[in-house]
């Protein structure tokens, strides 16, 4: 059961990663990246690492997102590629 879950989660992760890189709107890219980090935290907890999942959710998803948004307020939202 767990094995199937992690296979599909990883496929979704790869799609999120491509999306985060290819979206032209940086705000949307940051949003997708936060979703990506949250999914990866989910995957960590599915693989039996709750400590790491908690850290990734707190640091990777929440804090990195906040820091990226805080610096994005000073920048142009649109990216060339």
């Amino acid at each position: 059961m767990i094995l199937e879950l992690d296979f599909w989660l990883m496929i979704v992760l790869i799609m999120f990663a491509i999306l985060a890189l290819e979206v032209k709107d940086l705000l949307a890219a940051v949003g997708v990246l936060t979703g990506y980090s949250f999914l990866i935290a989910l995957l960590f907890s599915a693989l039996g690492a709750p400590d790491v999942a908690l850290t990734e959710a707190a640091l990777g998803a929440a804090l990195t997102g906040v820091l990226l948004l805080a610096s994005l307020t000073f920048m142009n939202r649109n990216s060339k590629d």
């Binding site: 990883m10 990866i40 990734e56 820091l67 000073f74 060339k80």
Partner: protein, 125 residues
């Protein structure tokens, strides 16, 4: 590349796909913030590699439970998890410093597109 190989190793293959996507974002994207997003994906894929390696079949999370007793085969491997914990914090620290560099760049050049910055640097010389 047989089926047996994929049964035991498919998580690693997917991790490497993720790693290459991150590497692509880091090196070939022109927008500096996109480069940082690529860097984050690259780092997370390495964490995922360690966590996949820490998995043991028929084992539970690495917290002692009286029902299972002290047998080493009952718990996931704690050492890679500790390594990843440390690496996550290091990764966020790098991202924070990178963002502050990005802000100063934005202030001095008015843009975060690499080609425009290079153009301005060439004109200054």
């Amino acid at each position: 590349m047989t089926v047996e190989f994929l049964q035991g190793h498919y998580p690693y293959v997917l991790v490497i796909v993720l790693l290459l996507i991150g590497l692509y974002g880091m090196t070939l994207k022109g927008n500096l913030l996109k480069k940082l997003i690529g860097m984050t994906i690259f780092q997370t894929s390495i964490y995922l590699f360690f966590i996949q390696g820490a998995v043991k079949t028929n084992a539970t999370i690495p917290v002692f439970s009286p029902e299972l007793g002290p047998g080493a085969e009952n718990y996931m491997n704690p050492l890679p998890q500790v390594i990843v914990l440390t690496a996550i914090v290091v990764g966020v620290a790098i991202t924070g410093v990178a963002l502050s560099l990005l802000l100063v760049t934005q202030q001095r050049y008015g843009t975060i597109e690499e080609d425009e910055i290079l153009e301005q640097m060439r004109q200054a010389e």
